[in-house]
């Protein structure tokens, strides 16, 4: 779950980090009144709240010198899609004059299987280019997941990006808080870019947090507290699928795809392309799907307008062929849809599954290549 900038900053404040004074503007709000109520004096920054990286470059962040300008710019930002996405809210923030911009993030390094801190004395909008062109300027520091980030380590990182004196201590304290947030929220990523140097202090001008979806059962408050709808991160049909608990990604083509397991589902997409078709989606029923879930997935694609035909590719291990077949048959019966459906079924209890399907008039392939060729040719 990606958090908006304003949500990430609320969390940092809860952990005692000083962030620039700001006010959140929702659709329909009187921007000037909001700014006055919050007691914000220009210059101000108006920031589009969208869940995509690279907002600044895409024109989603504007510096303004007066409240009137803020109102005008806000009007523009409401209508300005950032990478195709309209903002769910705007954040009006006091502009903070600063001396330099740093970069700091914490992510999980998959190969090292440990959290890694990435820090650079060059922050701001060009961090991705800096990472490419001057990788040596990015300091990497691995953290022991049991010990957590020790104070001396945080100071070492600060030192390594060229900080000293009271600024070094301010940075080290900030980094330790960032690490606490990273573990408390079970985040995949916490980031501050730019992290401004203001005199002898660091101030996060931006903050980004992505929480691991698998851990959300322990962080219901994040979901419940959400005031701004998760606009734009997902398409309309992706939102619908998520509400039903289906891992679904919308694509550009016309062949609806269901597979079991992300690997096989992706390979099925690749195979459809290989034989000249275009997948309309990725839909993974995962491991051990029972008939009810299969039915839900098939019904979903029967309704999904982009999917003009459907290809179901299941190789059962923990997933049982008879359950899959029952789910398919139930979905087709209940929908009354006449969308063409091609099924490939192999693995655990495939004979029984095949029998159930054939009794309902659905032929099941065992050879996936034959099945793909069939669905592409329909």
């Amino acid at each position: 779950m990606k958090l908006y900038e304003f949500e990430a900053k609320e969390i940092l404040r809860m952990y005692g980090v000083e962030t620039p004074p700001s006010v959140l503007v929702m659709p329909g709000d009187d921007v000037a009144a909001k700014i006055r109520e919050a007691g914000l004096e220009p210059p101000l920054v108006v920031k589009s709240q969208v869940l995509v990286a690279g907002r600044g470059k895409a024109g989603g962040i504007k510096l303004v010198e007066s409240v009137e300008d803020a109102v005008r710019v806000a009007g523009e930002l409401w209508r300005k899609p950032i990478k195709g996405i309209l903002p769910g809210a705007l954040l009006v923030e006091k502009a903070v004059p600063h001396d330099a911009e740093l970069y700091t993030s914490i992510i999980i390094d998959r190969s090292e299987r440990r959290p890694v801190i990435l820090a650079s004395r060059f922050g701001g909008m060009d961090i991705e280019e800096i990472a490419r062109e001057k990788p040596e300027s990015i300091v990497r520091h691995y953290v022991d997941p049991f010990l957590g980030l020790r104070g001396y380590e945080a100071r070492m990182v600060g030192k390594a990006i060229g900080l000293s004196g009271r600024l070094l201590n301010s940075y080290a304290s900030f980094l330790q808080v960032l690490y606490r947030v990273f573990t408390a929220l079970e985040a995949e990523l916490v980031e501050s870019n730019p992290l401004a140097i203001v005199g002898d202090k660091v101030v996060p001008l931006d903050a980004r947090i992505i929480v691991d979806d698998n851990s959300l059962f322990r962080h219901r408050e994040l979901v419940e507290r959400r005031r701004v709808e998760q606009r734009g991160e997902y398409t309309e049909w992706e939102v619908k699928a998520r509400q039903q608990g289906l891992p679904f990604v919308e694509l550009e083509g016309d062949i609806g795809i269901i597979g079991n397991g992300a690997g096989l589902t992706m390979a099925t997409m690749d195979l459809v392309y290989h034989f000249g078709g275009r997948p309309a989606n990725f839909l993974d029923i995962g491991g051990g799907a029972r008939a009810e879930l299969v039915k839900k997935a098939v019904s979903f694609l029967l309704e999904f307008p982009k999917a003009e035909k459907i290809f179901i590719n299941v190789f059962g291990g923990i997933t049982r062929g008879d359950e899959v077949a029952r789910g398919i048959v139930a979905a087709v019966r209940e929908s009354g849809s006449s969308k063409p459906l091609v099924v490939r079924l192999s693995g655990t209890r495939e004979e029984e599954g095949r029998r159930i399907l054939e009794e309902a008039g659905i032929y099941a392939y065992t050879d996936p290549v034959e099945a793909v060729k069939k669905v592409v040719s329909l």
Binding site: I108, A262, V369
Partner: protein, 292 residues
Amino acid sequence: MAVLVDSETRVLVQGITGREGSFHAKAMLEYGTKVVAGVTPGKGGSEVHGVPVYDSVKEALAEHPEINTSIVFVPAPFAPDAVYEAVDAGIRLVVVITEGIPVHDTMRFVNYARQKGATIIGPNCPGAITPGQAKVGIMPGHIFKEGGVAVVSRSGTLTYEISYMLTRQGIGQSTVIGIGGDPIVGLSFTEALKLFQEDPQTEALVLIGEIGGDMEERAAEMIKKGEFTKPVIAYIAGRTAPPEKRMGHAGAIIMMGTGTYEGKVKALREAGVEVAETPFEVPELVRKALRR
């Protein structure tokens, strides 16, 4: 010879009374795996398919000291606890089938196991099988056949797909390991390759990767350095997946341009690995490699 699981494997099933645990305990027994005990807290004293159930791993080990492997079917919120329990009891190989475990949990129990000298396979994986000797996992046993080709894979279903194709073409497997599709897994490609390098039964290796992460690139680096010397055939899933989108429950996501299909294929080809365009070309490439 074999890798990780063999005829000496004695299995404990954690979560044996659950739907999956019980179904697959039976399937493992039918395959001929020595499943000697199960654990479900609160269900101690009962039996599942003739296998005695205990309340704790320690109690199971007291009655069955021969246990050397555990397989975990415990639901995600409690699975990490089951892994710690197995590792603390001294079990050296723990196969974690459970999907949806929070990544911070996985990071901690994987590090803990390594410090204690235990190997974790998974989580979110199909397990491992040495055809004809033992299967510790959820894969359909009949699709495998004894032989000389190792299969190591991040995807469960593609493991079955490709192994079954090999079998139908008469190419048997030494050991097949599904390492799991999560961002962090206990056993990596490079670690699996180290094991297969030492295994005299393994003549060639099939590596099934996915977009996301850098595990395939690390394996390529190892092959390039000459630390794995047997022929390798690879397939990478996700060529047509859009960037920055998570494909399903798995860790398959291209972030900031790293972990792309092209990058992985390039690294593998530069290391002399044959990369198949579709999973269905793998058997032919394996056959060619074995002829050489």
